[in-house]
Point group: C2
Chain length 357, copies 2
Amino acid sequence: MKRKVTLKQIAKELDVSISTVSRALSNSKEIGEETRQKIQAFAKFYNYKPNNIALSLKNRKTKTIGILIPEIVHHFFSTVIRGIEIIANQRGYNVIIGLSNESFSKEVINMEMLANGSIDGFILSISKETLLHQDYHHFKETISQGIPIVMFDRVVNDIDCDKVIVDDYNGSVNAVKKLISTGCKNIALITTMDYVSVGKLRTQGYLQALEESKIHPKASLILKLDDSLALEEHLDVLEKEIEQFFMNNEKIDGLFAVNELYAVTAMKVARKLNLNIPEDIQVIGFTDGVLSKHARPSLTTISQHGQKIGEQAAHLLIDRLELDDEEDDIEEVDFERDMNFKTVVIETELIERDSTK
Amino acid sequence: MKRKVTLKQIAKELDVSISTVSRALSNSKEIGEETRQKIQAFAKFYNYKPNNIALSLKNRKTKTIGILIPEIVHHFFSTVIRGIEIIANQRGYNVIIGLSNESFSKEVINMEMLANGSIDGFILSISKETLLHQDYHHFKETISQGIPIVMFDRVVNDIDCDKVIVDDYNGSVNAVKKLISTGCKNIALITTMDYVSVGKLRTQGYLQALEESKIHPKASLILKLDDSLALEEHLDVLEKEIEQFFMNNEKIDGLFAVNELYAVTAMKVARKLNLNIPEDIQVIGFTDGVLSKHARPSLTTISQHGQKIGEQAAHLLIDRLELDDEEDDIEEVDFERDMNFKTVVIETELIERDSTK
DNA sequence: TGTTAACACGCAAACGTTTTCGTTGAGAAT
DNA sequence: ATTCTCAACGAAAACGTTTGCGTGTTAACA
């Protein structure tokens, strides 16, 4: 087992000083041609690579970004990660991942863990529990320590950071408009509780589309489901809830669901009730995952472009990190800095498949 | 922006030495009661947390493990990550993720990048390209540098490391036996090219099950697909290939597919050809993902227990890392060490749903 | 009173880098 | 002969920790 070779060892072996080795390897012209060649050859032979940790300590930056998400077995989130990773790698960064599992305390723990020097900045999506408690002190503290954050998808307004969000509102408006334009008169909505910001926005979009078409929304056409029902374990409960909902609203001819699972389950129920899709009832779901593509019939969805979100978030974060670098040199302009936080909106796209006319 | 406070700053502020602060915070009894209280109070007030990078440098271990996988937008892999993350967190480790995107060079680059001090050990699944080239020098080099590796799912034999594998062979045997026992006479197989070890094993299992039942395998009943067809982009091509396959083999009454996508697509084709599932043809797929659960009819699958795989892999790696710690102290027994690499086999489970009788 | 032990703390090395600021020697300029 | 100027290199600090060892003070002991 040959341990990694260090500058010190090379220096000793070649009977020069550490600084000479360091300079020779960085092609400094302060070092004589001959010595430089010798050192470089030796280093190459022993496959010298500078130790990242030592570099991190010296430069006070790790070149890694921390990703903090609620769940990883999830099409949308993993797509975002892929986007982040691509850009991060391109720009010389690594990614380290923390999972909150939708829990507030795990989010805090993970954050503190990584904030102690392990990462240069965060890209995160807030856990449901945090959103429910509305306790954002950990974000604020992290930021006040000089660690920038970029939030995506699930964001809150009162935090000073860059954000990348999906245009949930307009996406929903368009989806529902599509249903209206294809003749739906009684459009139902299956959504989540309001504290999840995206659920709220999608609900608002639904209402807006109805209003624009002078359709009066009916409370009975809106089904708000507890989030735990989204868990794969409670599939049967979810199914029954939706079935009950259908029974209570016999005239439903259009359905908009705020996620894929709700939509697909609703289709299953519709079929059970002998409703034909899209003839009797049209369905549109939010999030374009693998389910939508392979459902029967394939599901018309609103794509969120998760990868693009990740890429944008990564760019925003790294831009800010490298901007901070320059500011460190100049050492001024502290006042105007909080002004220019951006919020990038990623447009959604309606992907039409067989569940709509 | 208040930067994180360091030992040095505390020492200066309280007019003691750095060592005193360090010891006071670790509750050393070498420090007087009064001083200790004072320092601890001060540290708590300023929310002192030791800098991970500095600790890593000093201890020569980072308490992070590197995960290297071909793809993250993938149910199985993300499940494994979840398993790893859970155990890692429990045992005080972080995880850093690298994506090879099934490319050899990206795998090598990522590996070298992380091996330079960023991580203590790897958990990885080999990329297809690497498997194809059969070039494993980067694994060997990493290991020879004293960085342990745990491979999962896609493994190769001639590398000295712990492994966690799925019982692909027996899983397949059982699946095909199930088909036989429910009356299938002409069982087809849809698989991948042989260089992906798991595909090969699953094919062997299929053959074994046939043989045990004295059924002669027919080459015409085996469809080997190029891997690129697994990509979501080529769905239509995949569909046509399978349709052609069905046309050529009219008597197929059972089908075993080595992944979910093949199975679901085959069901789609079967339906198109007016075959009823499971009456006319039964289908079983490998990998229990979200598709299987929501397909119509729901798909009988072989579950790989991805999370369990991740958990096991994490335990194996961390056990070895902490065992290495002790050996560093003792400084001996270098010879017997390569003997005790474990290969843990995670049993599969046949999850029966509606695509089989 | 002199010796000693316990106590409470500081110094400095070490982890592996980069970089600033010397220092040395030789040849050129005065 | 003396000063100056480079070229070529080394020493040491710094990043933030931990820890072995040294040291000064005090109190207890003979």
